[in-house]
């Protein structure tokens, strides 16, 4: 029989038993998510980020935007009225790590895509007070003047692929993406053509208003403009989502 005194006087044993006790709470919460059938809603439209959006997401994290902005609309009436539909688990299935956050110094950004024009985002990020006089958000003027470094975008996509994001490298993976997302999206998820795709998206949309350059602003605005826009909620009955809780 293990006695209180034996445990307390044996540091090794104390550590092992402590670890076991505190891991129970975590395991009970996390493990079931892997085998409960209905945790991620089955909705169409959610796809991994394109190379440009992905770099934008990296910049979002580098600049610490998540310290003031959450990306998780909760299922409450006030949030519904202000931001729109609550976030689904399915919508962050390709986010590693997800950007849910819990600090809202600024508004939630989970559904900010399409809400403003590119020009607004550019003006707002350079100096928020130019468009929102009472804003306390910091200025990020360098995004507009720093060329986007995308030399390692393939490596970044490969890293995400390891975590299960379906970027494709082989023909079989590509074909699989064509079947899941359609050919247009599948092309953008092709690691081997990442740089080309990135340039093409940046030049075609000219997010930063500087036609001849691809800057960090292009990437960040491309990312912001896609947030929360992938699922077409008019295609689902609300009751359907309630089945996943």
């Amino acid at each position: 029989m293990i006695k209180h005194e034996n445990i307390e006087t044996n540091a090794g044993l104390l550590i092992v038993l402590t670890l076991i006790v505190i891991s129970i709470g975590g395991l009970v919460e996390i493990v079931p998510l892997f085998y409960i059938n209905d945790t991620v809603e089955k909705v169409s439209g959610v796809r991994p980020y394109t190379p440009l959006e992905l770099r934008g997401r990296d910049i979002y994290q580098r600049e610490g935007c998540y310290l003031c902005h959450s990306q998780m609309v909760r299922p409450f009436r006030d949030e519904w009225l202000r931001y729109g539909h609550y976030s689904l688990a399915a919508e962050s299935q390709y986010d590693h790590p997800f950007q849910w956050g819990s600090k809202r110094t600024g508004p939630d950004l989970a559904r900010v895509g399409g809400k403003y024009s590119n020009a607004w985002h550019v003006a707002h990020l350079i100096n928020p007070r130019d468009v929102v006089p009472q804003s306390i958000m910091p200025n990020y003027p360098w995004l507009q003047t720093t060329d986007l470094d995308y030399s390692d975008v393939q490596a970044r996509m490969r890293a995400l692929k390891r975590t299960g994001v379906p970027y494709s490298e082989t023909q079989a993976e590509y074909d699989h993406n064509v079947a899941t997302f359609g050919p247009e999206t599948a092309n953008k998820l092709d690691i081997l053509h990442a740089e080309e795709n990135l340039m093409q998206q940046a030049l075609a949309n000219d997010y930063d208003g500087q036609r001849d350059r691809v800057t960090e602003m292009d990437a960040l605005v491309a990312y912001l403009q896609v947030l929360g826009t992938m699922v077409d909620f008019s295609r689902y009955d609300e009751g359907y989502f309630a089945e996943f809780r």
Binding site: E5, E8, V28, V31, P32, Y35, I36, N37, P75, F76, R77, W80, R82, G84, Y86, G114, K115, Y116, S117, N118, A119, W120, A123, H124, D130, V131, V132, P133, Y236, D237, E238, G239, F241, A242, E243, F244, R245
Partner: protein, 309 residues
Amino acid sequence: MSDKKARSQGAVQTTGHAWDGDIQEFNNPLPTWWLWAFYATVVFALIYWVLYPAWPVGGSFTKGLFNDITFVDSDGSVKTTHWNTRALLIRDLKEGEEARLSAEYMSKVADASYAQILADPEMMAYTRSVAKGLFGDNCAACHGSGGQGVIGLFPNLADDAWLWGGSIDQIHKTIAEGRYGFMPAFRDTFNDKQLRDVASYVLSLSGNKVDNAARARGEKIFQTQEGGCHYCHTPAGTGLKSQGAADLTDQIWTIADVNGTDDPAVKLERVEKVISGGVQRQMPHWSERLTPAQIKLLTVYVHELGGGQ
């Protein structure tokens, strides 16, 4: 102090362990109230486990007993499910006190014509209070909380000059479908002198004093193929609402900040800059983000803000 310490030490038991001969460990029993509070939380948890979704079991989980939610789904069917926040929200959005009241007004607004809303003081009062919130959430970031806009970027909605028209129908169309204000860049068309000439003419339209010779040369550019300005701005310079082309004859400027300076040279410079750089401004469309009734409220609100026509 030390008295008190000694007293309390005397009352405290030790665990009976001793290290290094005389180091003992106190055993301070928990206060009774604390212990009972702890037992109460355990009982609370047990009840909670029964009533609410709690434990994972196989591929599913315990869904809670005696605690179902009945709600009306989007397709109108009535559904009952175990307690969960999403179902609770659906019910709250449809049946909550606030929701019922606003749905009542919203359906009134949705059914009413614009003329009826404008004529009904009660509906107008409701419109103002709700649309103010909608405007704050969706429009104020660009147009400012009072609709005053930002010169060069976003037009002022609170004045009575309209790019696309200030009638109810036109404002409705602007909000629902969005607008793209486009004027080509003339930097490759004009040399510096031509730019100065045409800018002088433009400024003269609103009564600014300019060099007369330049004005005359500019007029020719404006009114002919050379500049083609009259296609969009009309020969009189009053602008074409169907193109969103600004009225150049009034004192109101939405892009070139002419009123921001008294120096005629700077005024000229600012107008030149707009002409050489062109304009591309986008007003997003809202038909997907907002419901038809919400767009209706905003239309009335903006119409009222800007002395609508």
